[in-house]
Amino acid sequence: MTDRPSTTKGRRPRTRLRRRVSGAIALALALGTVGVAYATVAAAATPKAQVASNAPSEDPVEIRKGRQLFEQGCITCHGRNLQGVQDRGPSLIGVGEAAVYFQVATGRMPVARQEAQVERKEPYYDEAETLQIAAYVQSVGGGAEIPTGNLRGSDENLAEGGELFRLNCASCHNFAGRGGALSAGKYAPPMDQANDLTIWTAMLTGPQNMPVFGDNQLTEEQKQAITNYVQTLKEQGDPGGAPIGRMGPVPEGLVAWVVGIGAIMLMILWIGAKS
């Protein structure tokens, strides 16, 4: 490709401007294609964070509304006085509003059936109703309160949050918060959909198989750091390409065999068919 204009076959010489323009268009097209493809992949992995509007009040009206909701939806298993019902549901006295928030806002309560573990589903109550039930339960037995204020702290705590996460959380929730199996059908759920308040209330109340991380185990600053780390990790892109679940070597091995060896086998068959 010399700069000298070619004179063969009467074609117009490609000027420098034309080369620049066509080069720019090609580059823009290529970048655009990659960008759109990447955005499609990346969008699926970042859930929208939601933040609780406010903590449940001690307003008697709210508490009464919460009681009504409780008596419609929860009383069958948790009993008239929150004392629990044998073989159906535990006592809620002293669990606190934080536990109610975690269980109801993530859709775990009301539960469809008794299983090894209650799974997350679409919430049955909206945010206001959830807080009303929480206020009622809190008014009866007290307990862990829904945290308010800054739940993440400042970004200086990210590295510390990572260390704390790996020490306290990764052994069940996996290094990237993608969850893992526990014994006999129980599991540590993936934290994909968890918002800041869900993470906090989970640490405070230790739902299902999770231990309680009270303020003696993890201080408020440490909880902020962990929450900040988890949420930042979730929002962060994957510089290496498709994350294939951020689940470690098992999906990697699967891709190596199915995609890698699979593609090469197809090529071998293609070459074999040609010769």
Partner: protein, 552 residues
């Protein structure tokens, strides 16, 4: 040697013109390599799609060497404690080893570093996978039989070295995952009866983790094991050249010849092109699919562990055996035999010993002492094929069990159910695989013989004057009065569909445009001429109003 050279090539420069020819003459005048080169270029390789699997492993190894050299420019195998201060925000300020620090730098701050790391890792997974697939091909076609037992042994050695090499590489970044892997390797060493403690101390140099293991693994990973692998590959491939490649039985193919393509131009072009295809797959994986994201794992700390800490797939079967094996701890007075020793030391020991010795075991059992250059179709040796299927099933159950927690979490299955399914499957499935494979082999054999006797189904249904309906069959050779042909099965593939018979030779199809007009292509195959003779007989029979296959 020099005498013959001067006789053969009196004026070499006159024969060869052009830069390549001149360069070749320049070298030949001095080093007399033309005879060797001629032999190499004229070397004939038999052609079959399944013969290219070993090449995948070879090309992966080349790619591993190339990318590995690049990584070694930037990796620092040191356990010195440093404080991270690179581009990755979530780890800034964290204390870590220099090894992990430099791997993070490769991933985030070295130009092209992450791509190289990812290609290197994908190529490592594919290297062992390709060796496995190649080994299966060699096993199921009987290519390991006399005179190629040594090639098989070297292959098993390469597979083992590849696994060790892979594990050493997996351990180098000193991240949480690889540290957990090393911890388990350390525990396995400790479990060896009597010498375990000494072995572990000899390798680690101190109590776990110590500061010696990463530099030692590094030297093993970049010098010792690759050197060994390279040397053994040379002998392995050299033996294939010396003893010539095996081939499937077929027209003109015999024990004492090799039918195929010459190294130059066709086979060389094919192999060269294939290298770039393999390289393309690995580059695409390295560029598009994230592998071993060490920044997510964090630095190794013996107090930390992540759920789903798995080894790379080639160690997965050991993880699986450990998960499935009951925790039997044997106490003999004041001495304990660790439960780890059975699934992690004894079992792989038995598996690899059986694998290495299989050619000798088979020769002993079949009393077959003959030289074999022709391959066998798996169906023709049902016992071996079924044994292979059995071993493969056993291995696959172990491999799946190695990831059973991930499967349990992703598919909502109880982990305990997965473990028990693995335990039962490990014992129950291999015999089932044996019986099924044996049955399938016999069925395929019968089908081959049926077609040789009765011909290929044409899909034409004919009604006889008597009212009976028959399907017209196309015999593969001359037929007797009953429409049966007396073709012997010779170990070669039997055509089973009409369009395998009637196609007018093979036309060269282009990728984008037509290279050859199908009408211009002459029928090349010797069998097809024979088939045509059969067709004529058939047509005569048909004209005479006789059914072709009264049996059906």
């Amino acid at each position: 040697m020099s005498q013959t050279t001067s006789e053969r090539r009196p004026t070499p420069t006159r024969r060869n013109t052009g830069p390549v020819g001149k360069a070749a003459d320049w070298a030949d005048e001095r080093y007399t390599g033309s005879g060797l080169t001629r032999r190499a270029l004229n070397k004939v390789f038999p052609d079959n799609w399944s013969f290219m699997m070993g090449e995948i492993a070879l090309y992966s190894f080349v790619i591993l060497l190339l990318t590995g050299v690049y990584l070694s420019f930037f990796y620092d195998p040191s356990m010195t404690e440093v404080r991270y201060n690179g581009s990755y925000e979530l780890l800034r300020g964290v204390e870590m080893s220099r090894a992990y620090d430099s791997t993070l730098d490769i991933s985030f701050d070295v130009r092209g570093g992450l791509l190289m790391r990812q290609i290197h890792h994908w190529a490592a997974l594919l290297f062992v996978a390709a060796m496995t697939v190649h080994m299966l091909r060699v096993f199921f076609t009987g290519a390991f039989r006399k005179p190629r037992e040594l090639t098989w042994l070297l292959g098993v050695t390469l597979l083992t070295l590849g696994i060790v090499e892979g594990f050493a590489g997996y351990s180098l970044p000193d991240d949480l995952l690889s540290g957990t892997g090393l911890r388990i390797a350390h525990a396995i060493m400790l479990s060896i009866p009597v010498v375990g403690t000494w072995v572990a101390y000899a390798i680690f140099g101190a109590e776990f983790p110590g500061t010696d293991i990463i530099p030692r693994l590094y030297i093993a990973h970049v010098l010792l094991i690759p050197g060994l692998i390279l040397a053994i590959i040379t002998v392995h491939v050299g033996l294939v050249v010396k003893q010539k490649h095996t081939q499937f039985p077929g027209p003109g193919r015999q024990e004492n010849n090799v039918v195929g393509e010459r190294m130059y131009p066709s086979y060389g072009a094919k192999g060269g092109g294939f290298f770039f295809l393999v390289f393309g797959v690995m580059a695409a994986l390295g560029g598009l699919v994230q592998i071993n994201p060490i920044w997510l794992y964090g630095p190794y700390n013996p107090a930390h562990v992540s759920a789903g800490s798995q080894p790379d797939w080639y160690i997965g079967f050991l993880d699986g055996s450990t998960r499935l094996f009951p925790a039997w701890e044997i106490r003999l007075w004041d001495y304990t035999i660790s439960p780890l020793v059975w699934p992690c030391v004894v079992l792989p020991g038995i598996m690899f010993t059986l694998l290495a010795l299989y050619p000798f075991i088979e020769a002993r059992l079949t009393k077959d002492r003959a030289l074999h250059n022709l391959l066998q179709r798996p169906r023709d040796v049902p016992v071996r094929t079924s044994l292979g299927a059995m071993a493969l099933t056993f291995y696959t159950v172990l491999l799946i069990s190695g990831g059973n927690d991930i499967i349990a979490a992703k598919f909502d299955i109880s982990l305990n159910a997965m473990t028990w399914a693995g335990r039962i499957g490990l014992i129950a499935l291999p015999p089932i695989a044996y019986v099924l494979t044996y049955t399938i082999c016999l069925g395929l054999q019968r089908h081959d013989r049926q077609i040789l006797e009765h011909g290929v189904e044409t899909g034409i249904i004919k009604r006889l004057p008597s009212g009976e309906f028959i399907e017209v069959h196309q015999p593969l050779g001359p037929v007797d009065d009953h429409g049966h042909s007396a073709l012997e099965y010779a170990g070669a593939a039997v055509p089973k569909r009409m369009n395998r018979l009637t196609h007018p030779g093979r036309k060269a199809k282009g990728f984008l445009w037509k290279v050859q007009d199908p009408d211009e292509v002459q029928d090349r195959s010797g069998t097809e001429a024979a088939l045509e003779a059969g067709l004529e007989t058939n047509e005569r029979r048909e004209l005479a109003g006789r059914p072709k296959d009264p049996e059906l």
